[in-house]
């Protein structure tokens, strides 16, 4: 694993604009950064990322089954009791998962360590599956990279296959995201394209425009009943919204299924550590107040629900050495995870986003930051496999 400096494609901003990738710059900072490129060997990709993540997902499924079977464990997940049956039923019915993203710390040598699992609403899908792919094709054509250069990126094809496998032919699927978030919309439309390619009917609606019919079903902005809904909106937030009481009785099928609320939840980290202690890809993790071995060199304290690094504090020798300044999540219960510093490559600290589709790991996207906590100002830097 190394950080390469490669010439940017002279026209990449035009390409981004033409394709509608309008969040290549965000908050006045560059987000897409193809001047820095992560190089992996095939052995690193397959042995350190692909296979371990497929295994981690299997462990997560095992943990879900255990938590759902235990009231004592369900209590720890911080989800409203009124939704427990809804969650458990979706697991009992074996409602299939669509996608997710493991965030990993990896320096090219030791085992990759799981930082957290974005199992419910992972974004950065467009830049991972499409724009990164185009970058590689362009750079091979331009002779910047050799013909043999490859990328761990079967995301699009895997999504098409997955949609075809988990939906009926021609089934209508609604896609909802929060209004006015181009980043979220990019992820939702990437999924919509895959659904269409799988022969499904894909329809978009703003999440806020969803209505409740007289029969208690959900309907889109044009009053059409929603039979199946992909929502790029966290389960724990849906559970707190006014329409939460209608979720179970609406007859709507949700993607991700409700049981994913247990995985996109940092309470899963201590659960996993308890079930699979000393697993090479896991870091020691505990609920606050129940700390055990492995936190001696410092810990990261995280609210059980948070996105984009929000609400995280890094503590070493009893002192806070870095904290994110977004306090939106401070009301949630917290966990502590052993502090595993991200490796540094010329000041860049990469977090590897390993994409899961169904139960398999199918691709990689790398976001890097100059600070210790990867937040939504980090940069997306493409990767290449070159042996």
């Amino acid at each position: 694993m190394e950080l390469l400096k490669l010439p940017e494609r002279p026209n990449w901003r035009d390409r981004a604009r033409d394709l509608g990738f309008n969040f290549a710059d965000m908050y006045g900072e560059p987000y897409w950064d193809e001047g820095h490129v992560w190089r992996f060997t095939m052995g690193q990709i397959e042995g350190c990322i692909e296979d371990p993540c497929t295994e981690l997902h299997a462990l997560c499924r095992e943990a879900v089954g255990r938590i759902i079977g235990s009231e004592a464990l369900m209590v720890r997940m911080g989800l409203p009791r009124a939704q427990w049956d809804f969650i458990a039923d979706s697991w009992a019915r074996a409602e299939p998962e669509l996608y997710g993203r493991f965030d990993l710390a990896f320096d090219g040598t030791g085992p990759a360590k799981l930082l957290e699992y974005n199992a419910d609403t992972p974004t950065s899908l467009y830049e991972s599956s499409a724009f990164q792919w185009l970058w590689l094709e362009d750079q091979i054509k331009a002779g910047v990279l050799p013909e043999a250069a490859d990328q761990f990126n079967g995301i699009h094809e895997a999504l098409v296959e997955r949609f075809a496998a988990i939906c009926a032919p021609g089934q209508d699927l609604h896609f909802a995201a929060m209004k006015d978030s181009p980043e979220d919309y990019g992820t939702v439309e990437t999924l919509g394209w895959a659904a269409r390619e799988a022969g499904l009917g894909a329809h978009y609606t703003d999440l806020q425009s969803i209505g409740l019919t007289a029969d208690g079903q959900f309907a889109d902005s044009e009053d059409r009943v929603i039979g199946a809904l992909f929502k790029l909106y966290p389960w724990e937030d849906l559970f707190a919204d006014d329409f939460a009481q209608y979720l179970a009785s609406s007859g709507c099928r949700f993607i991700e299924p409700p049981w994913k609320a247990l995985l996109s939840n940092k309470a899963i980290l201590p659960m996993l550590w308890q079930m699979f202690p000393d697993h090479p890809n896991l870091l020691p993790a505990y609920f606050v107040g129940e700390e055990g071995a492995g936190l001696e060199h410092g810990h990261v304290e995280k609210p059980i629900f948070s996105r984009e690094g929000a609400g995280i504090r890094i503590v070493q020798n009893g002192a806070v050495i870095e904290a994110s300044d977004v306090a939106d999540y401070d009301a949630h219960p917290r966990i502590r995870q052993a502090y595993h510093p991200l490796p540094q490559f010329e000041g860049w600290r990469p977090v590897l986003g390993a994409w899961m589709v169904g139960e398999a790991c199918v691709g990689l996207g790398v976001r890097s930051d100059r600070s210790r906590i990867t937040q939504n100002l980090s940069r997306f830097q493409p990767h290449v496999i070159l042996d």
Partner: protein, 192 residues
């Protein structure tokens, strides 16, 4: 190779979902008033075979039953679909709670479309339109049965189910805005 052979590259903005099918792909289509006329037109090496005629006709009949518009009076139905072009909804028995009968247009033929991605052909039922011509449940118009040509693939997306619903094509929305308030209070994107 560890990467996809192709990917979908464009983000089109908020209108993309409605338009993508139409803009991106048109598919071969042919309409028939009945199964027999489809069978006569089918060829072994064409894009549909006699077997495709039979399976898609059965599918179209099923879709008609599930998704054809419903009306609460014969007069209203005929107003939309032409005189003599309506029938009572057999699935909504007189004991069906709501009291009055439900009416729906007669299936007058079907629209056959070539497969979207290498699968077998797909079909939609068609019924009469007041003022002439025909329509699928989702609203794709056809001027005459027996014609063939290109149709957006979107025309073969299934229309919302109307069977068992109150007699109107769309649901009555009682309230909106019950989702999104929790996430909207935050300063960052909802994804992660």
């Amino acid at each position: 190779m560890k990467r996809s052979g192709h990917v979908a590259l464009a983000i089109l903005g908020a209108a993309a979902f409605g338009l993508a099918g139409c803009q991106e792909t048109a598919t071969d289509a042919a309409s028939f008033p009945d199964l027999d006329s489809c069978l006569k037109a089918a060829t072994q090496d064409g894009w549909f075979t006699a077997d495709d005629c039979r399976t898609t006709f059965a599918e179209a009949e099923l879709l008609h039953d599930e998704t054809a518009p419903r009306y609460d009076s014969a007069a209203l139905c005929e107003e939309q679909h032409g005189e003599g072009n309506c029938q009572p909804d057999a699935s909504a028995g007189p004991a069906g709670g709501g009291g009055g009968s439900i009416f729906m247009p007669l299936m007058m033929g079907y629209l056959l479309g070539s497969a979207l991605s290498g699968g077998r052909p797909v079909a939609q039922p068609v019924f009469g339109r007041a003022g002439g011509g025909y329509s699928t449940p989702a609203g794709t118009g056809i001027s005459r049965l027996g014609a063939s040509g290109k149709v957006p693939t979107e025309a073969f997306a299934k229309a919302p189910v109307t069977k068992g619903q109150p007699a109107m094509t769309r649901a009555t929305v009682a309230q909106r805005g019950g989702f999104g308030t929790t996430g909207a209070g935050r300063s960052t994107s909802t994804g992660g």
